[in-house]
Amino acid sequence: MANFRLRFSFSEQGRGALLSHLEVQRALTRLLRRAELPFVLTQGFSPRMKLATGPALPVGIASQAEYADVELSRFVKPAEATCRLQSAAPPLLPVLDCAYVRPQEPSLDAWLNAQTIELRIDQALLADRSLEEVCRQFEAVRTGPALEVERKGKLRQYIPADFVPDPLELSARTADSEGERSVIARFMLLLPAAGALRSDVFAAALLSPLGIDLFDITVTRIALFHLNPDGSCQFALPGRAAGVGSQ
């Protein structure tokens, strides 16, 4: 009998940003067990839950919506599944929504090929630099030389503009509650299958000329989606279009 592929979304905000991809995967398998959904196990001597997540989120980067697919042996109404997932979710990984997808859909990891990243920088860190000045600095990095990253013992080079095709959108915000001013920068960062420029690496490169440490600002993946060749985008679950930006 055919199994059911349930896709659910969850966020990693606040201190949840400090979780590694492996830690999130482990937390999700425990969440699914607590939710008592009829998950399917792999065959063999060490059976594992058939769970697949989307592209990894680097440590230190928050996310408004991440996705995972789990295979179920039995249909559970989406409303009930959402309810069970939400009540079994640990505080740092709240579940947002879920829906069934066709079993033949491509894997999340392969299909989700673009994301929107938001940097929130306290104005205090920027001292008296104007928005235009910051914008110029960021554009210089985006269109600048390759960034070198060590991966698995090898030095690899990434040309920022190959991964961030559009200039960053900057805006100034004032938080209502405490009157603190901050600068928001948004950009689309591509996630090609052949290997992507990591969001934390690019964000650190943007901040470096300004003398700002990545850990002193908030970096959030505000959208994760599939970018079609015609520039339109599709989402892993319906109703997750917020914050795409840079489109």
């Binding site: 201190r15 949840g16 400090l18 979780l19 590694s20 492996l22 830690e23 482990r26 937390a27 398998t29 425990r30 969440l31 699914l32 067990r33 607590r34 008592e36 196990l41 001597f45 060490s46 059976p47 594992r48 839950m49 440590v59 230190g60 079994a88 640990p90 505080p91 740092l92 850990f215 002193d216």
Partner: protein, 647 residues
């Protein structure tokens, strides 16, 4: 600095550390009351707010069952809020110190110095400097006498508490024994006293009257003609002997405590269920074997019910049946069979932390592993010769070891880990060489009885520790081998090992020396612990951080004759610094066992045979008849084989 700012600052530092997720808390299963405080609720006035600390990283501390039991017990009381405290890693501690961020509790990020109490588990002697690291990072004066009314009471407990003297100046009190039955009344009494506005000194005087509580400031060390005694200061009314508290209703206490599920990977990342407490095998070197007596077992029905509920509550996919010797649990075959039938279909595995040396254990391990890849089995013969195994009362024969390794090889294992000790009382060079000879015979058996390729692929992984005499054991009077002697024996052992198929790992002679001094020292050792900590020994218990020169300097600076503490043979009537602490096992029994060891005579395990009158049952108010013979006729092959070989 306001609390939320401190918390944010700490998180920013944690983000820069190597393992940021260890500082996150907000795990699944944190108590509701603590979760509410995390969400911004105020702690109601009158609530006793404290924490239980494991003086090591989250990775180690969150694996510790005692911390889970203690926080669950305390948080079940409406007037108590109990958090966890662990020691951040080297990098994060350095960042905290440079930014002026003190040690915070895990759940609510409250500065530890603002708590009402701090309970500290003492897992092993080398962690003593880490306790000072905790106090210092918390911005607390190291010495109890220097802590004022506003600061938390620091209370020690755990496996190393049975000679608390080397730590006496640093602690306000120690709790001796098992917490299940007495912790609630201790917490309640403390809440009342604080509510009444009792001073720190008044609180401690009152606590000293409670079962298992030892308040070191009410005692003094007195040199006698024969050693050192710790006696109550005149007029304090403190009891001359402090009795260990035993959880008599262990079988009825919850087997699964709390359901906190860490985000970060911890050492024991699974549901741990204590199937029994205590071990009555009577190994004469083993402190835990004496200090957790008598054996108490949970009922299989209760265990099955609680394991299933615990798995459901946590989402773990592995359960570990823990105890000092789980394969001694009388109904283990029945429990394993019932567990497997429930857990296999949902992909949950089950593990045993230690195995005794017999075919039954191999069979149990085979059942548990199914067809999965078999990593290795671990057994502890401890000594190479039968003579020395009799001295230490390790009731294992060579034939049993041969049978066990044969069963392991026949069932698909290709590696067996074997634990031995050197430096044991009465040990001769022949005994040391006997380890190598035993390994040789194991290999010969493999080559004779199995396919040559299997025998060649089979690894005997040998781990050799140095014997350290521990308080409250029949060997508490024994001399410890010098480092030079241990190193000589290590070389002797290396020369006697088979040429191939054996890997050898030592527990360092240097760490064993320091551990021995800390284990049997008196209050004078405290100054050396402090000096070593100041020299950087704060995390000496952690792999790779130990440096002997720091300790040698500290001993010298404090005028402490550490070699004397370690290497002096005591007489059986010597006054010992821990003589005022009673574990329930009588001094007469320990002396009798010490003499039997010299006579190379063994004592039977009381759960198989008759009570050997150790005193633990009587002290705990438990009828020895409920313990003695508990397992008579159940997997009793070991005792029978032992008798057979004696004959």
């Amino acid at each position: 600095m306001p609390a939320h700012q401190l918390s944010e600052q700490f998180l920013r530092l944690a983000a820069r550390a190597q393992y940021p997720s260890r500082s996150l808390d907000h795990e699944w299963g944190v108590s509701t009351a603590l979760a509410e405080v995390q969400e911004g609720c105020e702690i109601p006035p009158g609530v006793l707010h404290g924490a239980f600390c494991y003086p090591a990283s989250y990775e180690l501390g969150q694996s510790n069952n005692a911390i889970k039991i203690l926080t669950a017990l305390a948080n079940a009381l409406p007037e108590v809020l109990a958090e966890r405290v662990f020691l951040p890693g080297d990098d994060l501690r350095a960042l905290m110190r440079s930014d002026g961020v003190p040690l915070l509790t895990l759940e609510t990020n409250t500065p530890v110095r603002e708590l009402d109490f701090l309970g500290v588990t003492l897992p092993y002697e080398l962690s003593f400097p880490a306790v000072l690291e905790v106090l210092d990072l918390a911005d607390l004066p190291l010495r109890a006498a220097e802590r004022d009314e506003s600061l938390p009471l620091v209370i020690g407990g755990g496996p190393c508490v049975y000679n608390p003297e080397p730590l006496a100046p640093f602690f306000d009190a120690f709790f001796l024994g098992e917490a299940e039955e007495e912790l609630p009344s201790l917490m309640q009494r403390l809440t009342e006293l604080r509510g009444q506005g009792a001073t720190r000194a008044e609180q401690l005087c009152q606590l000293a009257t409670l079962p298992g509580m030892y308040v070191p400031s009410l005692y003094e060390a007195v040199a006698t003609g024969s050693g050192t005694r710790t006696v109550p200061v005149a007029g304090t009314g403190a009891p001359p002997v402090i009795e260990r508290v035993v959880a008599r209703s262990f079988a009825d206490s919850p087997a699964v405590c709390g359901s906190v599920v860490p985000y970060s990977e911890v050492i024991h990342d699974r549901l741990a269920v204590e199937v029994q407490r205590g071990c009555s095998r009577g190994c004469r070197f083993c402190q835990a074997g004496m200090t957790y007596r008598p054996v108490r077992q949970r009922r299989p029905d209760d265990l099955l019910r609680e394991i299933l509920a615990g798995l459901k509550a946590t989402g773990y996919d592995e359960v570990s049946l823990t105890s000092l010797s789980t394969t001694d649990y009388a109904q283990l075959p029945e429990l394993l069979r019932r567990l497997k039938s429930r857990l296999d279909p949902v992909g949950v595995s089950c593990s045993l932390p230690s195995l005794r040396i017999d075919a039954f254990s191999v069979e149990a391990a085979r059942q548990l592993s199914g067809g999965a890849k078999k990593s290795g089995l671990t057994f502890a013969p401890e000594a190479g010769s039968q003579r020395l195994r009799d001295v230490i009362n390790k009731n294992v024969t060579e034939q049993q070891l041969l049978d066990t390794v044969r069963a392991a090889a026949a069932n698909g294992w290709r590696r067996v880990k074997l634990y031995f000790m050197i430096g044991l009382p009465t040990e001769t060079d022949a005994d040391v060489r006997a380890i190598g000879e035993l390994l040789q015979r194991l290999q010969e058996m493999l080559f004779e009885e199995f396919d040559r390729s299997l025998a060649r692929a089979f690894t005997l992984s040998v781990s050799v520790a140095s014997f350290i005499p521990k308080p409250h054991t029949p060997f508490q009077w024994e001399a410890q081998d010098s480092r030079e002697e241990l190193q000589r024996k290590q070389r002797l052992l290396e020369d006697s090992l088979p040429r191939r198929g054996v890997t050898l790992h030592y527990h360092g002679a240097d760490t064993s020396f320091v551990e021995g001094v800390l284990a049997r020292g008196d209050r004078r050792v405290a100054a050396a612990i402090e000096a070593a900590w100041r020299a950087g020994a704060g995390t000496d218990a952690w792999e790779g951080n130990f440096d002997l020169t720091r300790w040698e300097q500290a001993f010298a600076d404090c005028g402490l004759d550490a070699v004397n503490i370690s290497q002096r043979q005591r007489t059986l009537d010597e006054d010992l610094p821990w003589g005022h602490i009673s574990t329930g096992v009588s001094l007469e029994y320990l002396r009798r066992e010490a003499e039997l060891a010299r006579a190379e005579a063994t004592t039977a395990d009381c759960t198989f045979e008759a009570c050997s009158a150790c005193g633990a049952c009587q002290a705990a108010g438990i009828d020895p008849k409920t313990v003695a013979g508990l397992r008579r006729g159940v997997s009793g092959d070991r005792q029978q084989a032992r008798r057979g070989s004696d004959a």
